[in-house]
Symmetry: C2
Subunit: 230 residues, 2 copies
């Protein structure tokens, strides 16, 4: 699949972590296939997660009452978003596939990555009601959530204390990516790497590399309530 | 319920917003009842959402490979968390009730509030496996998620395009608060305030004030998969 463009949005503080290695495996494997791979290393970039007035360059649309969604939409139209957002939006625009690589924090992504979602996926760029879900503005792109957990696979089952892992995926996969029209590949989950042997962690990297070899042949999931809550 | 302590964790950039007014209503109404109310105004505090090495004062437990969860746990034991975290933990420790007031961003809380969860609810302070869920370390406290949405009530129903609003509450109520042992009161949701009349927005404030009058008589929800996915 030479020529395809991949953006990896990566959120881990430690390059030597399993998340760091999973990210490296993706860069290498997709590179070998001839894909062009870009990484947004959020902690290394000290990416700003807070949605504030600083995201809008120059005057506000309504300086009497600050509404972030409205201001970001208007600033996008005028080309007046802050440089870091314009940069991320360019990367998204060019990408065929977005890979989100992170450790699960509190049944969701770390705040630094949530901030990427909050700030980059501006109305007019990623969606524009009623252009959402199947007609979202980022249609024809793919996304894949790749993450590690603290809890075991057994805890994240229907009868387990933390419930089916798919419950957690609804806000991220459906509420964010699908809303923007992005098609979602099956998630890639490494359960409880901190509690397994070094050998098992190496195996996790091999499994990911193996999956990436045939990733472009995969069909997206059917991103509807049935997939999550059946 | 004089003497009860309430902590409002508030995330909106604009004091004049409906979220700002909802927060003010809670401060006033609970104050009238003789409760002691503290507000963590996250944007005004420029609260840091990123979980980094800066949260640990002094030397690391393992300086070879940075693991945020381990380092925060060890720093908590030593009393070596950064001052802003110690301050927030004190407020949580003293509170009988936590109210989270925010606009829904992407089927979840804004990144600045997710960062509060990621950084404040440290292992050893809020939970310590297997002391989680019913035996979480913050048991005997209550939490209430109060938020505004962009989408309408109809969109957030089982047959609506955004699915049942309860699906979204699972990670926040069950995955975070219940995990720490906190009992959860029914959420308070103002749907699509930007698309209703000024009169209707005022009505939303009255409904909230009214609910607060008898809040202490409410029973927590049964925070189990049935409540969310039945």
């Amino acid at each position: 699949m030479a020529g395809r463009k991949v953006l990896i949005i990566y959120a881990h503080q430690e390059p030597k972590s399993l998340n760091g290695s999973l990210k490296n495996v993706a860069v290498e494997e997709l590179g070998k296939q001839g894909c062009s791979v870009t990484v947004s290393d959020l902690y290394a970039m000290q990416f700003e997660p807070r949605a504030t007035r600083n995201d809008i360059v120059g005057c506000l649309h309504n300086s009497e009452e600050f509404n972030y969604g409205v201001e970001a939409r208007e600033a996008y139209k005028r080309g007046d978003l802050s440089d870091d957002l314009i940069e991320e939006q360019k990367k998204v625009q060019e990408a065929d596939l977005l890979i989100f690589q992170f450790p699960l924090y509190w049944f969701s992504m770390p705040a630094i990555m949530k901030g990427w979602m909050d700030r980059v996926l501006v109305e007019g760029f990623a969606h524009k009601f009623p252009d959402c879900y199947s007609s979202g503005l980022l249609k024809n792109k793919l996304a894949l959530f790749s993450f590690t957990t603290g809890g075991s696979k057994e805890m994240y089952t229907k009868g387990g204390i933390s419930g089916d892992i798919r419950y957690i995926l609804w806000p991220m996969q459906h509420g964010i990516m699908h809303y923007c029209g992005v098609k979602v590949l099956a998630p890639h989950i490494c359960f409880a790497p901190e509690y397994v042997s070094e050998e098992n962690r190496k195996e996790m990297l091999l499994v990911w590399a193996q999956r990436l070899k045939t990733l472009w042949k995969e069909e997206p999931i059917n991103c509807s309530p049935e997939w999550y809550f059946k």
